[in-house]
């Protein structure tokens, strides 16, 4: 039963990602990407990781997707004629074949056959993993980069009277 749900979600997420290249306006592309984020979160739930699923939902759907809708899709400015679909399909299939061959060679595919879940991420583990020195340093660096990017965007957009 769970395998059937996994296959269905796998099909949905792959279709959602592929639709991104088919639609010709940014709004529908943003919707397809949000759909991929949502199904990704559902797959986290299927793997018994509810905490990661909720964080994924908040960050990617609540943050990134909404920002994408407001910032990009609302402008409705697009010319979608630059994707080479034949090259897209050929390259995707080639990379997929190479990576799957590598996975089979390393024995990762089929490794956990019939085994139960090994780990489930909990809030107490989150607190423990965030208290190491390097994790804190990397998170502050990322936060600083985000802050500087947001601040730098203001004069750039203000010069053109976009905002």
């Amino acid at each position: 039963m769970i395998s059937a749900i996994a296959v269905a979600l796998a099909a949905l997420i792959t279709i959602g990602a592929s639709l991104m290249f088919v639609f010709r306006d940014v709004l529908h592309v943003a919707v397809a990407l949000s759909f991929v984020f949502l199904v990704n979160s559902l797959i986290f739930l299927l793997m018994n990781q509810p905490l990661l699923a909720v964080i994924q939902l908040f960050v990617m759907i609540g943050g990134v997707s909404v920002y994408l809708f407001v910032g990009v899709a609302a402008a409705s400015y697009s010319h979608f004629k630059y994707t080479n679909y034949v090259a897209l399909a050929v390259i995707a299939i080639a990379i997929f074949a190479i990576l799957m061959y590598g996975m089979y060679q390393t024995g990762t595919i089929g490794y956990a056959q019939g085994q139960p879940l090994a780990n489930s991420f909990t809030a107490s583990q989150a607190a423990a993993s965030l208290t190491t020195k390097y994790t804190i340093l990397s998170l502050y660096t990322i936060a600083l980069m985000l802050f500087l990017l947001a601040i730098g965007a203001i004069p750039l957009l203000n010069r053109l009277k976009v905002i």
Binding site: V64, G71, L99, S129
Partner: protein
């Protein structure tokens, strides 16, 4: 069995993302393909964590989510900028920004 499905899906998503970056010249599509690659990497990381390894996962996921947010902020800023200038979104023609 579920691990196999999800790893296969992660690899498929990664392939679609890489192919999207390589085959498209559209600015928005390229950035959103990078988002697909990030989704695939988070999926593979969580599936391997759930079934096989017992390592550190949250820092990696935070980095992935932060890169995704950075991507989208940069995309929105440049997109609004290019839209205001009514410039082409073809990345091979972005050097025309130099004349503005």
């Amino acid at each position: 069995m579920i691990l196999d499905f999800i790893l296969t899906m992660g690899i498929a998503l990664f392939s679609i993302g890489i192919a999207g970056v390589v085959s498209s010249r559209h600015f928005v599509i390229m950035v959103l393909s990078i988002e697909i690659i990030l989704v695939a990497s988070s999926l593979v990381a969580v599936s391997l964590y759930s079934y096989i390894t017992n390592g550190e996962i949250l820092s990696l996921l935070f980095v992935i989510w932060a890169i995704a947010a950075l991507d989208v902020i940069a995309l929105v800023v440049f997109y609004r900028y290019l839209a205001k200038l009514k410039m082409n979104l073809d990345v091979t023609k972005l050097n025309r920004l130099r004349d503005r």
